[in-house]
């Protein structure tokens, strides 16, 4: 499985756009990129998934450059409730079913 590297922590303020970048230099052709969010005392929650270019849903956008060696999760206009740990995962949907989490990025949104 491709190894992912993301910042340990980030700070932001309410109303700002937050971009969290994940490096995955060894991503394979069949690998997808997925992001999960985890609040304290809760299980992780799926945010977004993509393969290339840009994906947008009601929660976030995911930007993936052509070489796919990195990806950026973009959270528009964050609020205090977006304070959480964000995990970047890379894997082949067809090769096994388990999720491999790294250490994640702890996002702190301040008033």
């Amino acid at each position: 499985l491709a190894k992912t590297t993301q910042p340990i922590s980030m700070d932001s303020y309410e109303g700002q756009e937050v971009n969290i970048t994940c490096s995955h230099n060894n991503i394979a052709t069949n690998d997808y990129i997925t992001w999960y969010q985890q609040f304290p005392s809760q299980g992780p929650r799926f945010i977004i998934q993509g393969y290339k270019t840009k994906v947008t849903n009601e929660v976030a956008s995911l930007f993936i450059p052509a070489d796919r060696k990195s990806s950026t999760l973009s959270l528009p206009r964050v609020s205090l409730s977006d304070t959480a740990v964000y995990y970047c995962l890379v894997g082949d949907l067809g090769a096994g079913n388990m999720l491999t989490f790294g250490g994640g990025t702890r996002l702190m949104v301040k008033p």
Binding site: Q42, G43, P44, L93, N97, M98, L99, F101
Partner: protein, 115 residues
Amino acid sequence: GAGVSQSPRYKVAKRGQDVALRCDPISGHVSLFWYQQALGQGPEFLTYFQNEAQLDKSGLPSDRFFAERPEGSVSTLKIQRTQQEDSAVYLCASRQRETASYEQYFGPGTRLTVT
């Protein structure tokens, strides 16, 4: 609809005791996963079921850990002779039939503390 539920939410065990952790997946979800999350770290895979079949148990840390899903719905993770290093949050997740998505639905976890 109802999500994944786990019980108990908190469990304190004395070293050497056996514990059983329960997971109720989303109704109809074929796949069920158990993960272990140590404090300050990301979840780590323990084992995976498709219906009642345990297809992967490569993540179970020792033979003290045992999981079952006898009727393809509720699952139980059992830890025998608990040790302090077993203290962690145990997360259960379920997933629909194989789809073009990595989305798994997680329960709130059971926090196990071994004293």
